[in-house]
Symmetry: C2
Subunit: 324 residues, 2 copies
């Protein structure tokens, strides 16, 4: 079975680990969000791609959900001793090596997709990880603070400000020009099923959907999403701050409406959100908390099961149509 | 008193620490060798400048003579895990931060001299450290091995091969186009005395002397050199391998002849090399082993004392000439 999944950072990566457990013999392609990417100290940092790569490759710091396990912070301390800014982004020494390799390859002219493939040759994540685009895009957030109304890089809002200042607008700079990375549209076209993990619907999945051609390609496929909102609150992270910025309520219903039909064909919600619905969408209620790999795998199994049933129904309908 | 010194790596840096102790109220400008510089993993590494900066700034690894004290090697291990080459150059984590800052500033358009000044703002080495040139030059070494006759970067010959393969030729690539960095010629012109530490006469001092205008500027000054060769062997390092490559014997006499007059006005040799001499050069024999800062300071004092006497003699001769 060929599965495509879209993914942001921690939530997406943990869900994917469950998906790999649930469907070990499937061919899984992950389209990763690069809107969070940032250049720091002359190095190109791709937080979401790395979180997926480290999580699936066994190198993630489990407690914090991002960065490397057994990490040290000598380089960061030294940069601070030189007075280099910013000092609010916590890169560890092991992580620095990844960014050094990536930057060297990018500077040598390799596209991000080739660089990501090269990095994954070490990590063997068990999926094919492709950045949404080789073109540089960056999510910026418009805020108003003592410095006035201004746009800051998503990471500055998310990491430095902990999303404490309301986002007035969230803009993917470069979205108009960005093309899907090589392999993205083909992987979607070839997919039997598409699964949207409980990643941030605005700055992760929403960002990927802004790359031209991706949403249209997905509209033609059987897509099942896992709600990132349970009982009116994000499972983790600060998705509520992002949803508010784009005028969407923090509910499983509102996120389903945001994605909409024909994109979504099946929607998994938590049991307390039973009752959510949308025309043309099969909604099912399941426990959605990912405590560990096994609970993530159970959610993935439910998503795959729902998607398989929807696809079979569609296949039957198509055959009926053909027979007519 | 205004003193100019030329310096390579370990030997030069240790001598300079002695010079600072010997002449604490002097204004010392150090012209640093950049022929050893190398780009590794997309980062610009300046081994000699850093050795001077760390040694005088109190950050050096005393045992090995280069690199930072309390150093770790996590980044290097991770780069190796990615299969990145070369793996024979031992950059530590603290050291990496220096190269990251340097590379970011160079990429932003700052010349190496400005970058070095910025790095020194942290280290406060007590001297003004200027690279010999802002233009990129690199020492390459012609060798013959199983891969045939070929030129390798100096660092590959020095660090990877430990100078075990004979150097057939040593070439400073870029020497013809390189101009002295801003401040170099002015510092020499303004200097009361110039001291050449016991740095490598071929790939350290010899390299600096190849930058156009520097040798000519030094010819006009009172220059005292400290022999890097004691009793037919280098005090440290592999200067003999470099001297052989350019057809010069490993003796205090041969190095004096190599520098020659009018460049050199005074030459300090070890007691076992008493008898060395050259027309127009005042030679004195002294203990030249640098065990510690105090013995380095004693050598520096002897060099300053000799230089001061030569300069006074010249001043008197000039006054006599004026009076005639």
């Amino acid at each position: 079975m060929r599965i495509v999944s879209l993914a942001g950072g921690i939530g997406g990566a943990r869900f994917l680990r469950g998906l790999l457990t649930a469907a070990p013999s499937s061919e899984i392609t992950v389209i990763g969000n690069t809107g969070d990417d940032i250049s720091l100290y002359g190095l190109r940092v791709c937080p979401d791609l790395d979180t997926v790569m480290y999580t699936l490759g066994g190198g993630i710091n489990e407690e914090q959900g991002w960065g490397r396990q057994k990490e040290s912070h000598v380089v960061k301390e030294e940069l601070a001793a030189y007075g280099v800014e910013p000092q609010w982004f916590g890169l560890g020494d092991r992580d620095f090596a990844t960014h050094i390799v990536r930057t060297q390859m990018l500077d040598a002219g390799y596209p991000l997709s080739a660089v990501t493939e090269a990095l994954c040759a070490r990590w063997e994540p068990g999926v094919r990880l492709i950045p949404m685009s080789d073109d540089r895009t960056e999510t910026h957030v418009v805020i108003s603070d003592e410095q006035g109304r201004r746009a800051v890089h998503f990471q500055e809002w998310w990491v430095r400000l902990r999303a404490s200042v309301p986002a007035e607008q969230i803009i993917l700079v470069g979205a108009d020009e960005a093309k899907p990375a090589p392999g993205v549209l083909q992987a979607i076209a070839d997919a039997d099923l598409v699964i949207l993990p409980p990643s941030n619907p605005v700055v992760s999945i929403g960002t990927i959907l802004q790359i031209k051609g991706i949403r249209e390609a997905l509209d033609a496929k059987t897509v099942v999403g896992v709600s990132p909102i349970i009982g009116g609150a994000p499972v983790r992270g600060m998705a509520d701050a992002c949803l508010t910025a784009i005028g969407v309520e923090t509910t499983a219903q509102a996120v389903l409406d945001l994605y909409g039909s024909p994109l979504i064909d099946g929607w998994l919600v938590a049991e307390e959100d039973a009752g959510v619905g949308l025309d043309g969408v099969s909604v099912e209620a399941r426990p959605l908390i990912m405590h560990d790999v096994e609970s993530a795998a159970a959610i993935a199994r439910a998503a795959l099961d729902l998607a398989t049933r929807i696809a079979a129904r569609r296949g039957a309908a198509t055959q009926d149509g053909d027979a007519r």
